[in-house]
């Protein structure tokens, strides 16, 4: 008898599971037509008009929430349904999120871009995001639409920083992407630690302690003697050397390690042997991010505005960021790191909506100003940034009231040529992982380099070394 009840119960649960699965699917697809009435007033005329004659679904491919949050909060008329769905007028917006690490995002995107021509109109990718590390892979193909085809003119883009346009210009000189942010980087230091170690947290005084690499190493040893780590990982300042590298990472199908990386390797080895840096993997919890909290005892991080605002756990009350405990200074060398570009996919059935999102988020002065004030982003709009850099009322809460925009502005002006290839993400992830064996004395340098080359060629069989 008991067994009987149990089996009935189990099969009931099973049946419910099956039904629940169906339920989820059908509500999602039923939601589109059912909800059309009430939502129309708030939206702007232009979008509504555009949307009515175009596709009903806007598919956007992203790897994290950063851009989605910008659209959700700043695009006029966007209504959030849930984390991955929303509505603009009567167009349903679908966010397709795949994490970036280990090329997962690129692989997923490739798969769907290759199917783009055969996909149903509502399944076609309309817009996707790319990072500096691999932007060129997409920009230099047919899969991205030139901005001019969307009707975006040079005049629309006149306020943007030149390098943000150069990065996404294809070999025929056509501009194929647009960004709302500039990514000059700074050294972000822990103010409490600076007071304890150097007796001051004034950005200029701290800059003196990190003004070039030799001084940086000397200061790192001093930091270590006070029980702190200079950085959580050698990956932190990797991007400084990456930006200042002499050669492209791949030239004529051959992997090239620039002298800048050799310097990164020797500095990191010296610092690690002196106990002055940690050996976390970038982004790893909790080893890398421990320095975001007072107990983590990490002196500094390197990064652009998006790192400060988006990654340093300002939303967590116990973090240093929440208390405004960080300061920013230029650091040993100027650099830029990353950046996110919006690309319109070839074959999109929502070109006007794509265009409008691009223009609103990436060129509209008012919206961009709001993004800076509320999110502390460094936006891709020179006049707005100049105005705000001079504005005494603006300050970054995370940076304890400092206004870093002047510093970012100077950095952004200095970025000229980016030596980018389609292989940079693999190069970066692989060299960072392989070199940790050398830094920690597990392997001699040549063996570690060997592992690095192997790792890259496994992922890109067309390369040699």
């Amino acid at each position: 008898m008991k067994k009987r009840t149990l089996s009935i119960l189990l099969s009931a649960i099973l049946a419910m599971g099956v039904l629940a699965g169906c339920g989820g699917g059908s509500t999602a697809s039923n939601a589109e037509p059912a909800k059309e009435e009430a939502t129309e007033e708030a939206t702007e005329e232009a979008t509504e008009e555009a949307a009515s004659e175009e596709g009903k679904v806007l598919n956007i491919y992203v790897w994290n929430e950063e851009f989605r949050d910008r659209v959700v909060e700043y695009y006029p008329g966007y209504e959030k349904t849930d984390d991955t769905h929303g509505k603009i007028g009567d167009v349903e917006v679908v966010w397709n999120v795949t994490p970036n690490q280990d090329n997962a995002y690129q692989n997923h995107l490739d798969e769907n871009l290759l199917k783009q021509a055969d996909a149903a109109a509502d399944d076609k990718i309309d817009m996707f995001l790319v990072e500096a590390d691999y932007a060129i892979k997409y920009v230099d193909t047919e899969y991205t639409l030139p901005l001019s085809d969307l009707g975006i003119t040079d005049a629309d883009l006149s306020k943007q920083f030149q390098y943000t346009k150069d990065t996404v210009t294809d070999s025929n000189g056509q501009l194929k992407g647009i960004s709302w942010q500039g990514c000059p980087g700074v050294l972000i230091y822990n103010r409490e630690a600076a007071k304890e170690i150097f007796g001051t947290d004034d950005p200029d005084a701290v800059q003196e302690k990190v003004k070039d690499w030799d001084t940086f190493i000397a200061s790192a040893k001093e930091v270590a003697s006070k029980g702190y780590k200079m950085c959580a990982s050698p990956d932190d300042y990797y991007r400084v050397f990456d930006f200042n590298k002499e050669n492209k990472n791949v030239e004529d199908g051959k992997i090239v390690i620039s002298p800048a990386f050799e310097k990164w390797i020797s500095i990191s080895k010296e610092l690690y042997d002196a106990g002055a840096i940690g050996m976390a993997n970038l982004w790893a919890e909790p080893d890398w991010s421990q320095g975001f909290y007072p107990d983590g005892k990490v002196f500094c991080y390197f990064g652009p505005a998006w790192l400060i605002d988006f990654c340093m756990k300002a939303e967590d009350e116990t973090s240093i960021a929440a208390k405004g405990g960080w300061g920013a200074t230029e650091g040993p060398q100027g650099f830029a790191w990353g950046g996110t570009w919006l690309c319109a996919a070839q074959g999109t059935d929502n070109p006007s909506l794509v265009k409008d999102i691009m223009l609103k988020i990436c060129t509209d002065d008012e919206i961009m100003k709001k993004i800076t004030v509320e999110k502390n982003d460094f936006v891709n709009n020179k006049p707005v940034m100049e105005e705000m850099a001079a504005d005494e009322n603006y300050h970054s809460a995370v940076l304890g009231g400092q206004n870093p925009l002047g510093m970012f502005l100077a950095g952004a002006e200095n970025i000229s040529e980016l030596k980018i290839t389609a292989y940079d993400q693999t190069f970066t992830e692989t060299i960072q992982a392989a070199m940790k064996d050398y830094f920690q004395g597990n392997l001699p340098l040549d063996k570690a380099l060997d592992n690095f080359y192997k790792g890259v060629v496994e992922k890109h069989p067309e390369l040699t070394y």
């Binding site: 899969y143 909790p286 421990q290 389609a422 940790k436 570690a448």
Partner: protein, 314 residues
């Protein structure tokens, strides 16, 4: 006479009909992929960015590339080391536990509870389990802070940076995940042994240890062979645990890189040629090792190997 004969034929027919679902599933999900994998292994076929290269027929060049690379043997060695490290404690504890569970003289209480508990780790997704261990054993993770606070070590031990701690963790996770499953298999085997034999032995004055070694183990041999072979096949295909624990690169110095992780690295560029060749090599290696185990443990018995518990996703 005739009527009798047709009846026999009819029974046969039903046998075949009942076999159809298995054969169809096998053909579609195992046999066809197997054949296409072998076929693919003779082609150069990968993607460079968004450009498709191949497929171009290149004969056995993929095999030459792979087999002439000493790393392949290193990865095979890594895989076997981690499997053995996990399997030895696994079979030891499984035998012990199943002997206790099936021993009527012990009269263990709440057996159902314990059987459930030891099986539970297997219900957690391997990747989640691995992620958990990655966090637990991080440099600033809870295990290190406990050890430091207890004064056992003075500064955090870097588990993820040391060859044997990484391999050890992988082996330990596999052990914890699979010993429950093995215990249940061995228990089934032990309960299938005629209880009269045990009774007779104890009447003749055999001790519990003697009964275990002289009666239980020899009669358990078919099940043991099955357990070793399925575990070996599962072990050779070890992937999710080390992949997540080491971030996909098997560091330090690729010491935790298993064959399937190596295969997975080729799939980033959709390199079906090298990937196919590697799968075929793995297939052959698995076949040889299974045969070896079977012959060593089962010198006279001439029954075919049973269907493995975990099949290749080739």
């Amino acid at each position: 006479m005739n009527g009798k004969k047709s009846k026999v034929v009819e029974y046969n027919k039903w046998g075949y009909i009942f076999l159809i679902p298995f054969v169809v599933v096998y053909l579609v999900f195992s046999f066809i992929p197997l054949v296409t994998t072998i076929y693919n292994s003779f082609f150069e076929n990968y993607r460079a960015g968004l450009t498709q290269i191949g497929p171009n027929f290149i004969g056995i060049k993929n095999y030459v590339t792979l087999l002439s690379n000493p790393d392949l043997w290193q990865y095979l060695k890594n895989t076997m080391i981690m499997w053995i490290l996990g399997f030895v404690p696994q079979i030891f504890f499984s035998l012990l536990l199943s002997a206790w569970f099936t021993d009527p003289s012990l009269r263990l209480k709440a057996q159902g509870f314990f059987k459930t508990v030891i099986y539970l780790p297997n219900l957690i997704m391997a990747s989640a389990f691995s992620m958990l261990f990655f966090t637990l054993f991080a440099d600033s993770g809870p295990i290190n802070s406990i050890l430091v606070n207890l004064g056992i070590i003075s500064k955090p031990y870097q588990f993820m940076m040391n060859v044997w701690s990484v391999r050890g963790l992988v082996a330990f996770m596999n052990f914890v995940m699979w010993f429950g499953n093995t215990t249940i298999l061995l228990m089934a085997g032990m309960m299938g042994i005629d209880p009269n034999l045990f009774e007779a032995a104890s009447v003749d004055g055999a001790t519990a240890t003697e009964i275990f070694w002289k009666i239980t183990l020899p009669l358990l041999r078919p099940i043991l062979v099955y357990v070793v072979i399925t575990s070996l096949i599962g072990g050779l295909q070890m992937f999710d645990v080390p992949q997540i624990l080491t971030n996909g690169n098997g560091n330090p110095d690729r010491c935790a890189m298993t064959l399937i992780m190596y295969l997975n690295r080729h799939l980033y560029s959709k390199n079906f040629g090298i990937g196919g060749a590697l799968s075929v090599i793995l297939f052959v290696v698995t076949g040889i090792l299974s045969l070896l185990v079977f012959r060593v443990q089962n010198p006279r018995e001439d029954r075919g190997t049973r269907k493995p518990r975990r099949r290749a996703h080739d």
